[in-house]
Structure formats: structure tokens, C-alpha cells
């Protein structure tokens, strides 16, 4: 009996260790996006600093980099030069789009005027677009292929390597 109890105890303890090992090593804010491999939710949003409305569907036929960000998010400041430089070098091959996450349009305009404005940034009223994309924080970036399917999602600031790696998936 004592051996049986000991064996059961060991099994339970090992199971707990495994669960804790994987559980504690994981970012609690990380969400595996179920949208990867699915069509990107359609939207048409007003561009910051103009009355123009940008429809996601108008970019079918080329990869899209969709970046959710805000001026109150420090990592978004860090990734901005990388995104701007890559967007400028990619030209018409890839469409970059920014979506404002819980921020004021005036602050976004000021930020972009000061730090570079290479592609459209869109206003997301009441965060409905962010919710549809399953955004749980910023920065978050989605990579869409030319058919409008989400091929990758990245949480955190973009680096040239990360952009290159994920754009390669979107270009396939």
C-alpha cells in the first residue's frame, strides 16, 4: 500500500512539475492567434490626419503588414524607425498599414510628423478592429499574403530580421 501511495504521489508531483515548467515559462499575455491561416477580417477605416478611408480589400494582390500600435507604448516607438525604413524600401511590393490602438488621433499625428510618416495609419473607433483581430496589447503585427490570408502574427516590437522572416511567409 505504501509503495502504491508513493508511486501515485510521484506521478502527481511529476505531472505538476511538467505543468509548472511549461506554464511558468510562458508569457501569460501571449495569445496563440486562431486567425493565422484564416482570411483577415475586412475593414475600411479612416486614415489619421485625413478624411480618406482605407479599405483593406483594396490591397488584395500584395502582402500587407498590419501593425497595431499606440503612442503611449514605448516598444512601439522602438519599432517605428524599422517599420518606416522597411516600408520605404519595400515600395509598392508590400503595403504597410498602422492601426491606432486606444489612442488619440492628435497624438498619433504629432508622433508621425516628428518621427516619420511612411504609410497610412488608421483610426479604430471603439477598438472593434483590434477585437476582431484578437489584439491583446501593442505592438502586435499581422502579416497577410496577397490573398488576404493571415500567415503570421507577432507580439512585440519589430526588428528587421523579424519583418524579413515573416514577410517571406507572406510573399510565398
Amino acid at each position: 500500500m505504501n509503495r502504491t501511495v508513493l508511486a501515485i504521489g510521484i506521478v502527481i508531483a511529476l505531472a505538476l512539475v511538467v505543468v509548472l515548467y511549461f506554464g511558468l515559462g510562458k508569457d501569460p499575455q501571449h495569445i496563440d492567434s486562431p486567425l493565422v491561416g484564416r482570411p483577415a477580417p475586412d475593414f475600411a477605416l479612416k486614415a489619421v490626419g485625413s478624411d480618406e478611408t482605407i479599405d483593406l480589400a483594396q490591397y488584395r494582390g500584395k502582402p500587407v503588414v498590419l501593425n497595431f500600435w499606440a503612442t503611449w507604448c514605448r516598444p512601439c516607438w522602438d519599432e517605428h524607425p524599422t517599420l518606416t525604413a522597411t516600408a520605404q524600401s519595400a515600395g509598392n511590393q508590400v503595403q504597410f498599414l498602422g492601426v491606432v490602438f486606444q489612442d488619440d488621433e492628435s497624438k498619433i499625428v504629432d508622433f508621425l510628423r516628428q518621427r516619420g510618416w511612411a504609410y497610412p495609419t488608421l483610426v479604430d473607433e471603439k477598438g472593434k478592429t483590434a477585437i476582431a483581430y484578437g489584439v491583446g496589447g501593442v505592438p502586435e503585427t499581422f502579416f497577410l499574403n496577397k490573398n488576404g490570408t493571415i500567415v503570421a502574427k507577432f507580439e512585440g516590437p519589430m526588428t528587421p530580421d523579424i519583418i524579413e522572416e515573416n514577410l517571406a511567409k507572406a510573399m510565398r
Binding site: 486562431p34 477580417p41 478592429t129
Partner: protein, 236 residues
């Protein structure tokens, strides 16, 4: 004298005015009803115009189109809720959905803007007639099962439901087994061996297998136990 009858259908107010006026009171009543129906028509028209304007303002004039739940879960399959019921049910559903920017909080309990927006969307979907199942499906479509505070009974999640019950069952089995073994223990314990009747020659001597048959030294010295042994042995 011929009576000309207009074959065209009349409005109910005219019909009443022609055929059913019997006195001043009736006339006042008809006038009141007529005024009320006109007011109702005007109010309805204003309401419809406002609804149309709101829809146009949201969708067409600016051209803004946010992702809509209908795109993912189909047409609403429930009953549109209003008033207190809408507020109550919004709160109920919001208490079961996890706030993605918080640490394990429901959107009902979080003051974050994200949670407020999500709660607002739950309310909007309920008011449009989306069922609970459709609303859960919509949020799951974006966030996966992470967004559900109660995991579904499927796949690996089954373990979350089954393991505690299994652990409880194993615990109960262990406890009962232990109790049973303790109940049996006195018959096999050295004390009961000591109470059995050792032969005069055997008592106090090591048997062939060693010390098993020998009563413990403290039992030999205990007069109370010796008396009990005598009683058991001789029934004196």
C-alpha cells in the same frame, strides 16, 4: 335621389367620421384619436429617419466599415434584448469572458479600455439579437479559447475537468483502504500476538524464525497487560 359612394378605400378616421358620429363626445374622441395617430406617424417617421441617418453616418458617408460579427458567425439567431434584460445579460456574459490585457480578470470586472470596448460589443451584439453561442464563437474566433474563463469540455481541456474528479476519487479510495487496513491491523499486530496464548515453554524464548514469537519486553513487565492476558487465557 342617388347616393354616390366612393369605391376607394378610406382611412379609418374618415370612415368613423362618416358613419359613427353620434354626439359631441364622439367627435372629440375622434379628433383626439386622429391627432394621436398623426403624432404617432410623425414620431415614427422621425425615428426611422434617425435610424437611417445613424446607419448612413456609420457605414456609407464616411465609408468606415469595422469587422462585423455577422461576417464570422452568420445572421443573429437569438432575440434582440433591450432595457434591463440587456444590461443584466451583458453583465452575465461579460463575467465569463476574459479581458485579454488583464491578469485573469473578466471583462465585467476590468476597468481597462479594452474590457470596456469588449463589453460594449457584447451589449451591441445582444441588442442585435445574436445568441450567447454566437457571441462566444465570435470572441473565440479572434482570441481562441483563451478568452473563455471556463474552458470547454473538449481536447486537452477535458483534463482540466476530469483530473480534479479523478484525484478526488483516488483520494477517497486511498482513505478507505487505509481505514480498512487500520481496522484489520489489531489482529496482526505484535500486541495481539502478545495476547494470544503462548505455550509456557515458548514464552520468553526465541522461536525458530527469531524474535517473532517473543512478547515485547515492556509487555512482560506491564502488570495490567499480564492480568489481561490471564483473563483471556483462563477466562478467570
Amino acid at each position: 335621389m342617388s347616393i354616390h359612394r366612393d369605391p376607394s378605400p378610406r382611412r379609418s378616421g374618415e370612415k368613423v367620421a362618416e358613419g359613427r358620429i353620434r354626439g359631441r363626445a364622439d367627435r372629440r374622441d375622434i379628433n383626439r384619436k386622429s391627432t394621436m395617430s398623426r403624432t404617432a406617424i410623425v414620431l415614427m417617421s422621425i425615428l426611422l429617419a434617425l435610424v437611417a441617418l445613424a446607419a448612413i453616418a456609420q457605414q456609407d458617408v464616411q465609408g468606415v466599415k469595422v469587422p462585423d460579427a455577422e461576417q464570422f458567425v452568420g445572421k443573429p439567431r437569438g432575440t434582440p434584448l433591450t432595457g434591463d434584460e440587456l444590461t443584466r445579460h451583458t453583465q452575465e456574459l461579460a463575467a465569463t469572458l476574459r479581458c485579454p490585457v488583464c491578469q485573469g480578470l473578466a471583462i465585467a470586472d476590468s476597468p481597462s479600455e479594452m474590457a470596456t470596448n469588449m463589453k460594449g460589443q457584447v451589449r451591441e451584439l445582444l441588442s442585435r439579437g445574436f445568441s450567447d453561442k454566437q457571441i462566444y464563437k465570435y470572441f473565440e474566433h479572434s482570441y481562441g479559447q483563451f478568452v473563455l474563463l471556463s474552458p470547454k469540455f473538449q481536447g486537452v481541456n477535458t483534463l482540466v475537468w476530469v483530473l480534479p474528479v479523478l484525484a478526488l476519487a483516488i483520494g477517497v479510495i486511498i482513505v478507505f483502504s487505509k481505514i480498512r487496513s487500520l481496522e484489520k491491523a489489531p489482529a496482526a499486530s505484535p500486541v495481539s500476538d502478545g495476547l494470544s496464548n503462548p505455550s509456557p515453554g515458548q514464552a520468553g524464548k526465541p522461536d525458530e524464525e527469531g524474535q517473532a514469537g517473543k512478547p515485547a519486553p515492556h509487555e512482560e513487565e506491564d502488570p495490567y497487560l499480564a492480568r489481561v492476558r490471564e483473563l483471556v487465557k483462563g477466562d478467570k
